[in-house]
C-alpha cells in the first residue's frame, strides 16, 4: 500500500475524513517554510500539498500568486524545494506529500528527471495545474517509472469522457474542484455536487478530496458528509502566512490552530 492508501484506510477505520493544507515551498523563506510545515503537521494535517513557486501561475488567484512571488524574490529554486521536502520527509516518514505545480517547471530538467528528483525527495504524488487529462500521457509514464501517483483534477464541467479517463488513470487521490475559477478563498465553494462524487466512485477514481475555496470547518464537514474523502485548503492557509509576515510565532500559532479546527471538522462525531 502506498502512503495515500494507508492514510485513507486508517481514516476510514477511524471514521474520519482527510484534511490537507497547501502551502508554497520557500514562502516566505526556506527556513520559515520548514517551520510552517511543522506547524501544519502538529495541527493535525493528514497529508501535505506543497507548491513549487512559478512565475506565471494561471490557475491561481492573487493569494497564492503572491506567495510564489515572495518565494521567487528570495531566490527559491526547484532544487531548494526538493531539499526542503527531503527534510520534511526525513522528519515524517509516513505523511503523504503531494506536489502541486506548473508544467514548465517539470519540463525544464526533463519530465523523467523531474519525477526522479521528486521520488528521491520522498514525494508521493504530483499534480500539474496546467496539464489536463488529454495532455497527461508523458507525465503518467514518468510517474509510473518513478512510483509516483499522478493526481488528476475533476472539474464540475467535465465531460463523461474526462470522468472515464480520470477513472482509468487516477491514483493517490482525485482533486475535486468545487467550483469554476482560480484558487482563492475569496469566493466560497459551492458545496460538493454529490453527483460528481458518485460519478467518480462509479468510474473507480481515486478518493476525491474537495478543493478550491475551502476556508471554514463547516465546509470541510459538508464535503465529507457529501461523500468526499476529505478537503484541501490552500488560499485560506496562505492568507494566514500573508497576514502574519511580521510575526513568525503568531503565524505558526495561527496556522496550527487553523489546521486543528479544520481537522476536527473531519471527525464524524464533531
Amino acid at each position: 500500500m502506498d502512503r495515500y492508501q494507508q492514510l485513507f484506510a486508517t481514516l476510514h477505520e477511524r471514521g474520519e475524513g482527510a484534511f490537507v493544507p497547501f502551502v508554497m515551498l520557500g514562502d516566505p523563506s526556506l527556513e520559515d517554510s520548514f517551520d510552517i510545515i511543522e506547524a501544519l503537521i502538529s495541527g493535525g494535517a493528514d497529508a501535505l500539498e506543497l507548491g513549487i513557486p512559478f512565475s506565471d501561475p494561471i490557475a491561481d488567484g492573487p493569494t497564492i500568486q503572491q506567495a510564489a512571488i515572495r518565494a521567487l524574490d528570495k531566490g527559491v529554486t526547484p532544487k531548494d524545494c526538493f531539499n526542503l521536502m527531503a527534510k520534511v520527509r526525513a522528519a515524517h516518514p509516513n505523511i503523504p506529500i503531494g506536489l502541486l505545480l506548473y508544467s514548465n517547471l517539470v519540463l525544464a530538467p526533463g519530465i523523467d528527471q523531474f519525477y526522479a528528483m521528486a521520488a528521491k525527495a520522498g514525494v508521493d504524488s504530483i499534480l500539474i495545474a496546467d496539464v489536463p487529462v488529454r495532455e497527461s500521457a508523458p507525465f503518467h509514464q514518468a510517474a509510473k517509472n518513478n512510483s509516483i501517483q499522478q493526481i488528476l483534477i475533476a472539474p464540475p464541467n467535465a465531460s463523461e469522457e474526462t470522468f472515464a479517463d480520470i477513472g482509468h488513470q487516477s491514483g493517490g487521490y482525485t482533486y475535486l474542484l468545487g467550483r469554476a475559477g482560480v484558487t482563492g478563498a475569496e469566493t466560497a465553494a459551492v458545496m460538493p455536487p454529490i453527483a460528481m462524487i458518485q460519478k467518480l466512485k462509479s468510474v473507480n477514481a481515486a478518493p476525491p478530496l474537495l478543493g478550491f475555496g475551502i476556508s471554514t470547518p463547516s465546509q470541510v464537514k459538508a464535503a465529507i458528509e457529501a461523500g468526499a474523502a476529505g478537503a484541501i485548503s490552500g488560499s485560506a492557509v496562505v492568507k494566514l502566512i500573508t497576514e502574519n509576515l511580521g510575526n513568525k510565532s503568531e503565524m505558526l500559532k495561527k496556522l496550527q490552530e487553523f489546521v486543528y479546527g479544520m481537522k476536527q471538522a473531519t471527525k464524524a462525531s464533531s
Binding site: 506565471d56 501561475p57 467535465a158 465531460s159 469554476a180
Partner: protein
Amino acid sequence: MSNKLASKFGDFGGMYVPELLIPALDQLEQAFIDAQQDPDFQSEFMALLKDYAGRPTALTKVRNLVSNPKVTLYLKREDLLHGGAHKTNQVLGQALLTKRMGKTEVIAETGAGQHGVATALACALLGLKARIYMGAKDVERQAPNVFRMRLMGAEVIPVHAGSGTLKDAVNEAMRDWSASYDRAHYLLGTAAGPHPFPTIVREFHRMIGEEVRSQIMEKEGRLPDAIVACVGGGSNAIGIFADFIDEPGVKLIGVEPAGKGLHTHEHGAAIANGTKGILHGAYSYIMQTPEGQIEESYSVSAGLDYPAVGPQHAYLHDIGRAQYAAISDEEALNAFQLLARKEGIIPALESSHALAHALNMADEAEEETLIVVNLSGRGDKDLTHVHQILQGATQNG
C-alpha cells in the same frame, strides 16, 4: 480524449491549461469548425472585412526605398486596415464566433493596446461587452490607447500582479475566463496560446497571404521569392505565410525583436535565443531560466515584446520551412524613419523590424529578387515614443 482539429504542430502547441478550461476550448473548436462550413457566417465575415475594415488592402511597390536595381520590394498594406493594423481581421472573426456561441461578453489581453483597441471596436460594432486586461505599466505607457478602448465602451482593467506587462495580462485574462466561460469568450490576440487559438487566428488572418498571391500574380506574373513579416506571438506572419507554406519556392522569413542585442537579456527573440517550454497553454519556444521560470522580454516595439512565440512558427522553424531572423531596436528605428522619408509611409515599429530585415536582404541580393514585406500596422501609435527616442539621441549625441 481527442480533438477534432489537429491540436499540435509536430510536438508544438497542445492544450496545457487547467482541466476546467478544456470544455470552453472544445466548445470554441466546434463553433469554429461549424462556422468555417457555414456560408452565412462566411458571408457576414467577408462583408465586415470588406465594408467595415476595408479589405482587400493594397500591395504597394516601393519607389525610392531600395537602391539595388535587382530587387523589387512590395509592401502588403495592413497599415491601411481599419484600426491601423492587421489585428482587426481576426478580432472580427472571433467576435462573430462569440455571438455564434451565444456568449455576450468578451475578455481580452493587450500589451501596447493594439489588440485591445481592435477588440473594443469589434465589440462596439457587434454589441458585445468587452473587458480588457492590461499590465499596469502598459496602462501608464499607452494612455492614448486606453482612452480609445474606453471611448469605444470597453472596460480596461489594469493588472498589477507579476511584472505588470503583457504576460501578466494574459495570466489574468485566463483566470477570468476560468470563472466566466459560460457567458464570456476569451478573444486571444495572437497565434499563440492553447489549441484551437493558433489555428483560429491563422485562419482568420490567412486572407492576407491569399490577397498577396493574387495581387503579385497580377502585377509581376509570378510568386515572390521571399515573404518577410515580424514575429512577436506571430499572427501577422502566420497570416501572410499560410497560403505559401506549400510553395517551396517562396522563402518565408519571420523577424523577431533583437531589442538591445541577442547577447543581452533585453530582447524578445524566443526562437533565436529561447528554449522549448510551456507558456500560456502551448509548448513552443519561450524565454526562460534553466529552472523554467519565465523571463521578461524586451523590445522597443510593444507588440513584439512577448517571451514566447506561436507554436506553428516553432514548428516551421524546426522543419526548416521558415527562417527566423532578429532585428535590433536601432535597425528597426532606422527602417521606420527611412520608410517615412522615402515613401511617405509611417510604419508601426513592429512592422519596421520586418522592413529592416528586407532592406538588409535587398543590400545583399546579387540576383533578381522579388520580396513582399507585411507592413502589419501603421506607426501613429508610436509617434510620441519614437519622437522621445530620437530627441534623446540628438541630445546625447
